[in-house]
Symmetry: C2
Subunit: 306 residues, 2 copies
């Protein structure tokens, strides 16, 4: 049976590109039948990557069958995976997030989690010299994943390994990193086609603080105005999204990639308290700028207080 | 703060040796203050390893403090670790068991789990060329761990990697594998000092089948008679051990390393049913021989039925 390789339910660049990279490695180098699949529609940056490197869009699947062989990448969180994931035959997990607990495997399997910015960086290390055999598109996907997850090395999640590997790939591919990253971020920033609810759910993780459940949403953009011009309707939409998703509050951080700051929308006193207690911010109106805040993983989630 | 490196609560050779190996690597190669500790008294084979290679017995600790930096090896099962393990600052996990779920980390960390016979084998791969700087005792611990977990390559958990690495270490150290393994197994087989309850808990994992909780205990020995001569009092002791440990039944498999078979003690009809349904055995008396059964992980647990 063909091994399905997938990331999380809201496929960003790393969750779209890493399955493509690993399915290539399994099938072409390891000789195991494998294919990349997606658990949702790729975001605009991921779609840009596919079209730029001439990669087929992986099939979108709605679930996995019991005992189906799968490899999970870019997450180890059951909440971000198909409901019956533990019934599948999980063959391997490759990830760079904290261990959440909840995934179980039937036998010993390959698990590789490292505190790097990007799943593709870990794959680069695991594939080693065999990468020389990869087509340009696979290497291009790798580079795109790293530039995406590191926000072109601006994010504090960036490690020296991510950076060195991205430079090596860019040189190999003849890619000008800053020009290419600008195109990627422009693609990501074009959110005009999305509804408010879609924007609030696009890049979002649930996180609870003392029993209060948050949906912590981030929009990384080089054109923050495009989002902030819609702030009134975005804030109005938060109540319904929270209700539908069973959380108490949506937090939306608009991350300005170029100016290296985040703007948090402040629809009510709860979020005002969060902004003040978590980030020491002084909140006047319905938005607050948080200088230097770029990373949900490193800067937002670990600081969230009520 | 010094990083404490430990394995599970019933320290066998791998759970005693791997912390020593990894603490050496962290402190001598990575320059991080680290020390091996134990969560219980090492078994007789592990004690033999310590004395043979002139290694100090690691301190036995009864728990971990909140936020204490720790590295967990040879398990990822919270039930086999201190109660408040998730409050510790888990820095890394290196293991070769199935993912159980339940461990959580505060941030992204290094996790490396591979389907190999032994944690030390994974460490050998991770340490790479730096192993040249290791003292003989560290390499000796590595070799002992691999020979122990593979039962000198007899266990079906043995992989080509475990075998190749053990041979490389033995050559480097000038160790005659079969003579050394015989000494190890003789040490493990000397169980005269242990009470029945201690024997039943010495190498034991809890596992539930359809709501029935088992303590699945294994004694690997080259002298099965030493254990089987005590079978009546061992079976009598099972009831109390089960009660004290909150399980429904203790299963004791006496693994004859040299003859490559296990003898299961059959104290009652429940265990008789387990023997028949799980292993297709025909049970006449109060023991049953299961030819070829050597590994709890590969052969016992996956087959347990009621």
């Amino acid at each position: 049976m063909t091994i399905q390789v997938f990331g999380h339910k809201s496929p960003d660049t790393d969750s779209t590109g890493s399955p493509i990279i690993w399915a290539w490695y399994l099938s072409e180098i390891k000789g195991e039948a494998a294919k990349p699949v997606l658990l949702g529609e790729p975001n605009t940056e991921a779609a840009f990557m596919l079209s730029h490197w001439g990669l087929d869009k992986p099939e979108i699947i709605s679930g996995v069958e019991a005992d189906a062989p799968v490899v999970i990448v870019d997450t180890n969180n059951p909440a971000e995976l198909p409901e019956n994931i533990n019934a599948a035959d999980i063959r391997a997990i490759i990830d760079h997030h904290k261990l959440v607990g909840g995934l179980e495997t039937k036998g010993p399997i390959d698990i590789r989690i490292e505190p790097l910015a990007c799943t593709a960086t870990i794959m680069y290390k695991m594939i080693g010299d065999d990468l020389a055999q990869a087509p340009k598109a696979v290497k291009g996907a790798m580079l795109t994943c790293i530039l995406s997850d590191t926000l072109e090395f601006r994010s504090p999640t960036t490690t020296q390994e991510d950076k060195a590997i991205a430079y090596a790939l860019a040189e190999d591919l003849g890619v000008d990193i800053s020009a290419y990253a600008a195109d990627m971020f422009a693609a990501k920033s074009d959110v005009s086609a999305f509804s408010d609810a879609e924007l609030l759910r696009m890049d979002s993780k649930e996180y609870a603080v003392e029993g209060t459940k948050f949906r912590v949403s981030v929009l990384e953009t080089t054109a923050p105005r495009m989002v902030l011009d819609r702030k009134d309707s975005l804030m109005a939409s938060m109540t319904q999204v929270a209700q539908e998703d069973g959380v108490d509050q949506v937090l939306l951080f608009v991350v300005d990639i170029l100016n290296e700051e985040a703007t948090l929308l402040v629809p009510n006193d709860l979020v005002k308290t969060v902004a003040e207690k978590s980030f020491g911010a002084t909140v006047g109106g319905d938005t607050v700028v948080l200088p230097g805040v770029m990373s949900r993983k490193k800067q937002i989630i670990p600081n969230l207080k009520l």
